[in-house]
Symmetry: C2
Subunit: 383 residues, 2 copies
């Protein structure tokens, strides 16, 4: 709830008040197209928890996505209000108030949810009883992340329970390996997804062995999706961060055959203090760029290192050895020492999802100008 | 922007949809009164970056605060719109768009800002020239935190530059030691504030030696304010977190003479999955409770440990040795294993400020019922 706008359409980058969330439209569009090529024959259901922005969901669907994932029911309700008609909430939903909204939302869109416990199925069956619109229910299996999800054996039990109830429909298996996405080494990620795909295929075989079909096996993230694509097991991919590419994803060592996505999301910040020759303080701290996955990087400024975030300040160390060759050190250090009050820097957030969740709007730029301002309509939709 | 309300006034705690931000009104009010006693003869100007909530600012002023601090100009504008008339923005403000708003806001309230560089003074003087309402300008000195702030010697130069310009008024010295607030040992905090107070008194003496007066020496936080109070140097205190008390502040080892504040701010969460006998997954991850200062604690459940946060999930380890005696371990572990889907837990956020900034509303409870719902009007006001 800002009392004034950070900018208006047509402004130059220099005119944008800071800190502000910036989308480089050219890079974003290249990322969209790149994913369209890379997904091959797979269904693409991008995760909207990364962006919470209906304009972006519409762009993904225009690029061939079958729908979106959300992580929260209230998030899904916001996207449904914005006209998105096929949403999988990749989460277990518990609580009377929430379940009433499940029923309501399932009347207006194709809605899917996850279960990993018989009690969730009983509740969903209870709330959906007598509904004219079935709810898609996926059994989540634990494929190595050690968070939610059930065993292969239990997945059969749960699938049959879903099948036995009116108002809910067994839609498939959810097999997302969150823990694999940021394993730094390519062979670690490959091994993790081999394990996940084996579990998913075991669950599929076990469920099919009792005479049911498994329409969808869904999962995958930006760090691994080409492994799921090539697994012969999955038929739907859920990457979210590929549109933005945060610092944490960029820190993964790339696979030989993996095409990299471009950084498209930034936090624009301003130098507000120069307390020492080798230190600049900027106006973007941890309320402007989430630090749960580490500090942001400074875009195209290898001479600058974001070393410390407090709530509303970021401390930038200038010059010295930020992984540079010695010749680069000297010239960059010279550049860095020239940082002036009022200079603007572009930060690459450590983690895009919680960073986007700090802002009401994303400022879309192209050719150095503000082309559009998109509302982050599901910002704060945590219920 | 939630598509539905988490609760309505009069609901029981059990009826609140989760995750939600909860204020225990009784504990909050005791914290307010406690600070009124502890501040003694000092001016109290609580920091509103912790709560971003006009209702809370009004309660603080009703308890004797002279005004509030904000950390962002846009935050101050929100509070000004809500009727708060005396605000110190404890920050350097740089950028043309921001400075125009400084002038506007200074017409409607008593506004203060910080400087630590001659260029900021020049810009403020330029924008305030010809204004009918003077802007209070404080020189920030670095008292050990190593962030913004100038030296004692330079503070004299800056004070004189402020004094020389129309439209701005030298209001005093800002001497906040952020780095001291979470030093765990009482003697570490005491030593840090002795150093800070020495620097502040040197700055005061140096500025007075050129014939100026130093009306206000302001600083202090919840972790140290009684040291500033007793320093003989400061005359204004800026604590913010005392109203809420997060886990990080509670982890400080208490001073012998220090009265502790109570936990009053919580994130209410629901058990959504029980993937293993010793694991529960709740619906509150790092978008519900900021983890920049570590994981939240589980209130009054020493048998439960919040071990891992992903965006929208929290992993709770049940039982075992969470700092308990062996007899307590057994009974608590038994309790923990009884956790059911749908059970609610109260989390004590690791860090209150960025946690509050995730929510649009704070749900105020007393006696197990929702008594009020207060808007967090300055949520997201980062400009």
């Amino acid at each position: 709830m800002l009392p004034w706008k950070a900018c208006t359409v047509g402004d130059s980058m220099e005119q944008i008040d800071t800190p502000s969330l910036i989308l480089d439209l050219d890079a974003f569009e290249r990322n969209l197209s790149h994913m369209t090529r890379l997904r091959g024959q797979m269904r693409l259901r991008p995760h909207a928890k990364s962006h919470k922005c209906p304009e972006i969901a519409r762009a993904q669907i225009a690029h061939g996505a079958v729908g979106i994932c959300c992580q929260k029911l209230s998030e899904a309700a916001v996207f449904a209000s914005a006209g998105i008609t096929d949403i999988l909430v990749t989460n277990q939903l518990v609580g009377e108030r929430k379940l009433r909204h499940v029923r309501e939302l399932a009347q207006t869109i194709r809605l899917g949810v996850l279960v990993d416990h018989a009690e969730q199925i009983r509740s969903l069956g209870h709330v959906m009883a007598g509904s004219h619109h079935e709810l898609d229910v996926y059994v989540e299996i634990d494929v190595g992340a050690g968070r939610c999800g059930t065993t292969v054996e239990q997945s059969v039990v749960l699938a049959r329970k879903i099948h036995a109830l009116d108002g809910i429909r067994f839609a498939g298996v959810h097999a997302y390996h969150g823990g694999a996405q940021h394993l730094r080494k390519p062979y670690e990620r490959a091994a993790a997804i081999r394990f996940a795909a084996a579990r998913a295929s075991q669950a599929r075989d076990a469920i099919e062995s009792v005479g049911m079909t498994v329409p969808i096996i869904t999962g995958a993230g930006t760090g691994t999706f080409w492994h799921e694509r090539d697994s012969g097991v999955y038929n739907e991919l859920q990457p979210g961060s590929y549109i933005f590419m945060d610092r944490d994803y960029a820190d993964n060592e790339p696979d030989a055959g993996e095409a990299r996505f471009e950084h498209a999301l930034f936090v624009l910040a301003t130098v507000q203090s120069r307390p020492a020759p080798d230190v600049a303080v900027i106006d973007a701290g941890l309320k402007a760029s989430s630090v749960d996955s580490g500090m942001p990087a400074v875009y195209k400024r290898t001479d600058l290192k974001y070393v410390k975030a407090s709530d509303e300040h970021g401390v930038i160390k200038i010059g010295s050895q930020h992984g540079l060759s010695s010749s680069a050190k000297i010239s960059d250090a010279t550049t860095g020492h020239g940082l002036q009050l009022g200079d603007k820097l572009m930060l690459i957030p450590g983690h895009c999802d919680p960073t986007v969740n700090l802002y009401d709007e994303i400022i879309c730029v192209r050719g150095g100008k503000v082309e559009a301002i998109w509302p982050i309509s599901a910002r704060g939709a945590s219920l």
